[in-house]
Symmetry: C2
Subunit: 70 residues, 2 copies
């Protein structure tokens, strides 16, 4: 079973990599409103795996990150 998990910093929380990319693009002449950087994790796991449990136990810090499963 293939599942894609997208993990992004919660709105309003620190995203130093996104900020760095935004600054760099602005310096290079791009008109940028916002950049957010997160992680994509492509999982290929056994059919029937409890993905929500797996993700919340091992992949995401739900205090500071939010995720979507695709």
């Amino acid at each position: 079973m293939k599942v894609r998990v997208l993990i992004l910093p919660k709105k309003g929380l620190l995203d130093p990599e996104g900020r760095a990319i935004k600054e760099m693009l602005l310096e290079n002449g791009y008109q940028v409103n916002d950049v957010k950087v997160g992680k994509v994790v492509d999982l290929d796991v056994e059919e029937g795996t409890d993905i929500k449990m797996l993700v919340e136990s091992f992949l995401v810090n739900t205090l500071i990150e939010e995720y979507t499963i695709e």
Copy 2:
């Protein structure tokens, strides 16, 4: 204009973070075939921006990474 860019290591190339997560999940009893870890970059840029140019110039190393624009 909001654009999501997904950046993943090319097939067959080193993905130490994916490997580490796979090992950790296996140790925790999950049946895992494969884990790949990449980056998601959410951009909010000016309408008409050449996204391919931006991504290939500043966000992706096309020698070792592949990307999709959503």
